[in-house]
């Protein structure tokens, strides 16, 4: 799966957020995503990661993302 596809999903889910997607191995299935968004303000880390997992639920469920590393940060 292309980095741009993952980024598009995250941009849709976190409009106005700062989004960075890295294909860690170049194989299109191990990704590091970093999202900075006001959507995370006031949420616990686990709630923040759940929002990212939800945004990428499709490719996570069908196995196109084999490994996902997540870093999140609010803007507050």
């Amino acid at each position: 799966m292309a980095v741009t596809t993952i980024r598009d999903l995250l941009v849709d889910a976190f409009p106005g957020g700062e989004i960075d997607v890295d294909d860690r191995t170049g194989g299109g299935d191990h990704f590091q995503v970093t999202v900075v968004s006001d959507a995370f303000n006031g949420l616990s880390l686990i709630q923040q990661h759940k929002l990212v997992n939800a945004a990428l639920a499709g490719p996570l469920a069908d196995g196109t993302i084999h490994e996902l590393r997540i870093r999140t940060k609010g803007t507050a």
């Binding site: 880390l45 686990i46 990661h49 759940k50 997992n53 639920a57 469920a61 490994e67 590393r69 870093r71």
Partner: protein, 120 residues
């Protein structure tokens, strides 16, 4: 025999700290499972490891319960704290140790064991 989901639920509810992982604490089969174990160990946590690899249904039932899609999954006193990234981040900030000490008391023993689910 209880269903697989009942067994998983019981493990989560009764084990102080449980990691659903690929492989076992003795022989982790995935770098991310290893990262979670290392952070927990350094935070002084007792660890019960459950290998999800013997049967794909373990992961399916676990994710249905936890609503968390990836492995590893770390639970402290029945509560999902997250996967490898969150466990590492909480360790780095000192919150993981606080959480473990708060949940188990300052004097808890640190043991590591592997628990196998009964598969029919």
């Amino acid at each position: 025999m209880s269903t697989l989901q009942d067994q998983i639920k019981q493990v989560i509810d009764t084990e102080p700290v449980v990691v659903f992982m690929k492989g076992t604490p003795d022989a982790p089969a995935c770098g991310n499972s290893m990262r979670a174990l290392q952070a927990l160990w350094q935070a002084g946590a007792p660890i019960t490891g459950v290998d999800v690899l013997p049967d794909p249904r373990i992961r399916q039932e676990l994710t249905a319960l936890s609503e968390w899609p990836t492995i590893p999954q770390v639970f402290v006193k029945g509560e999902l704290i997250g996967g490898a990234d969150i466990t590492e981040e909480l360790f780095a900030s000192g919150e993981l140790k606080d959480k473990i000490d708060e949940a188990l008391g300052d004097e808890h023993p640190q043991t590591v064991r592997t628990l196998a689910l009964a598969l029919d």
